[in-house]
């Protein structure tokens, strides 16, 4: 299977603090990777660099043939629009836009908007009857499903999910996880940050971090039972 993500000796310093310290790994297209580790271990920093939200101090982070470290501001903007779909723990929806408009916003920054396509995307995550609702009128699970629809609308090469179920109750967690499973079955490549071992086991592989270093990479043994 082709390599979609290649990280080589990646370092990131915030002043005197080293958030990532010589991290290297590869992700094949279609893989679901769980990135685990304690708070402050560098998981989110890695996700931000792979998503073009941040730049590494040294090293390479190649996504779909593009070295993120070499992109300028304009290049990073296009990279984020065309190759990445983000799902955040805090959902991060624009509060004054409806569910439909939040999805269309990603289309707008990518190329052109297609309201019908955005509506279908929301129907797919079970929110066909909530498209005109503002985020304030949606539950946490519903907001996260809007974020999933938004992440998928431009057919990104890589889905980066940072604690996607961290703010959800059990029922909504299961809904979002089943969506991720479905995306994985369809062949999407997913890098998901999580604290929960049970969720981590759903992935094809787990990459564990501690103090900015990759300490363990393992196949998720319980995956068949939970899938």
């Amino acid at each position: 299977m082709a390599t979609l993500v290649q990280v080589e000796n990646l370092r990131k310093d915030f002043g005197n603090v080293r958030a990532l310290d010589g991290v290297s790994f590869r992700v094949n297209a279609g893989e679901w990777i769980a990135i685990m580790g304690p708070s402050g271990s560098g998981k989110t920093t890695l996700i931000n660099i792979l998503g073009g939200l941040d730049t590494p101090s040294t090293g390479q982070a190649i996504v779909d043939g593009t070295d993120v470290a070499r992109l300028d501001e304009a290049g990073l903007t296009r990279f984020r629009a065309e190759k990445i779909g983000f799902i955040f723990q805090q959902f991060h929806l624009v509060p004054y836009l409806t569910a439909l408009e939040n999805v269309m916003l990603a289309q707008y920054f990518h190329s052109t908007t297609d309201e019908k396509e955005a509506q279908q995307s929301l129907e797919r995550v079970g929110l066909g009857d909530r498209i005109e609702h503002l985020p304030s009128r949606l539950s946490g699970g519903e907001q996260q499903r809007v974020a999933v629809a938004r992440a998928l609308i431009n057919q990104p090469k890589l889905i980066l999910a940072d604690e996607p179920t961290g703010n959800l109750d059990e029922a909504n967690e299961e809904i979002v996880l089943s969506l991720l499973r479905e995306l994985h079955r369809e062949g999407h490549t997913i890098l998901m940050v999580t604290h929960a071992a049970t969720i981590g086991r759903l992935a094809d592989r787990r990459i564990e971090f501690a103090h900015g270093r990759l300490v363990q990479a393992a196949a998720a043994s319980l995956k068949p039972e939970l899938a």
Binding site: L53, R78, R80, E82, Y96, L105
Partner: protein
């Protein structure tokens, strides 16, 4: 999607933007009113200055007195040439004109200065005159006269009374149409028809001077005076400079005041918009961080916010311009007694000024270009 976003931004931030829109509408209203006032004030001031009386006087070149029947009278000139020259002036610019022949006659054995003139022009030449009784509507009316209030008091005259004017061995009767209160030397004079006074003094076709009230700026008055001087080289044609210059000076000062106030208001409006936008930029850092993470370039994102500000400026400018037109109408009524009609060119000018002001006030939005999405999404 662009305008959909702008519309949702406006709706979503209407509380915060209310302050800015109030500032823009208020600023635009005052600016529009002042601009209307500036354009209308020239006409109004000219009208006001016309009430101060004539602004051109035509008189014989030198004050060489004439000898008539042994009595000395001021230098005279034939009225025909003067009246012909007056007719050559553009009729729209001549607000009023009248020839004058002054003599000192007697009534009830008391000497009185009698001015023979066109009585129908008296009110137009000096609108500040107050009258008890009636004006004389026709310059052909030889049987009525207007009496200055001091003369009326001395001779115990009231509107409707009859009086007789004596000069040398001639006399002429006239009915008092009205008593004039001019607050000046005219209060000591009697105003009778030119023809009657010429007949009384036995000076047919002669006048002592002519007064002209020209409607227009100091330049227009000077131009009319030059035209008359060219047509009447044998006479002295003098623009009354105090009136013309005072008008010019006052217009200049009013214009300076208006321009200063417009600038001040524009600066204050810009500062108010600036303060609102600075607060709004802080509030929207999270939205901008998110939009950047979705692949939005800073030019597209700031473009949305600038369009929002532009809509505010244009809408506020239009509304304010309409309010300002009403305000200038009211100010015209209060200050000049007549309304100042709104000028169409003030509307686009006000909207353009408000657009410039709001876009200048939106400078804090440039700070959004420095937003780092990773920091914002981390909650920093």
């Amino acid at each position: 999607m662009f305008w959909r976003l702008v519309s949702q931004l406006l709706r979503g931030s209407r509380g915060r933007l209310a302050v800015a829109i109030i500032a823009i509408v208020s600023g635009a209203a005052v600016v529009s009113a002042l601009l209307n006032l500036d354009l209308g004030v020239q006409n109004k001031l000219t009208q006001e200055f016309r009430t101060l009386g004539a602004n051109i006087v035509i008189s014989p070149a030198r004050g060489v007195p004439a000898q008539i029947s042994g009595a000395e009278v001021p230098a005279l000139m034939p009225s025909d040439g003067v009246l012909q020259a007056l007719q050559q002036l553009p009729s729209a610019q001549v607000a009023a004109a009248a020839p004058y022949l002054y003599i000192v006659a007697r009534s009830q054995n008391i000497p009185v200065v009698v001015a023979g003139t066109w009585l129908d022009q008296a009110q137009k030449l000096d609108a500040t005159w107050k009258l008890e009784g009636n004006w004389v509507a026709s310059r052909e009316d030889d049987s009525h006269c207007l009496v200055g209030r001091n003369v009326a008091r001395r001779l115990h005259l009231a509107p409707g009374n009859a009086m007789e004017l004596h000069y040398m061995d001639r006399s002429v009767p006239c009915g008092v149409a009205g008593i004039v209160d001019a607050g000046d030397t005219e209060d000591n004079q009697v105003f009778a028809s030119l023809r009657a006074v010429q007949s009384l003094a036995n000076l047919p076709g002669q006048i002592g001077l002519a007064q002209v009230s020209v409607a227009g700026t100091a330049q227009v008055v000077a131009s009319c005076a030059a035209q008359l001087a060219k047509a009447l080289p044998q006479y002295q044609v003098r623009p009354i400079r105090q009136v013309a210059e005072a008008e010019g000076v006052l217009l200049g000062r009013i214009r300076l005041l208006i321009v200063s106030m417009v600038l001040l208001i524009l600066i204050l409006t810009a500062l108010c918009v600036l303060a609102t936008m600075a607060a709004l930029a802080m509030e929207r850092r999270k939205d901008v961080g998110l939009m950047k993470s979705l692949g939005g370039s800073i030019s597209r994102i700031v473009g949305i916010f600038l369009a929002e500000v532009g809509v505010l400026g244009a809408a506020g400018g239009l509304l304010g311009a309409a309010l300002g037109a009403a305000l200038s109408y009211w100010m015209g009524l209060r200050v000049f007694g007549t309304a100042i009609a709104p000028r169409w060119e003030v509307f686009p000018a006000t909207v353009a000024l408000m657009l410039v002001v709001t876009l200048t006030g939106a400078l804090p939005l440039r700070m959004l270009g420095n937003v780092k999405p990773a920091e914002i999404l981390r909650g920093e």
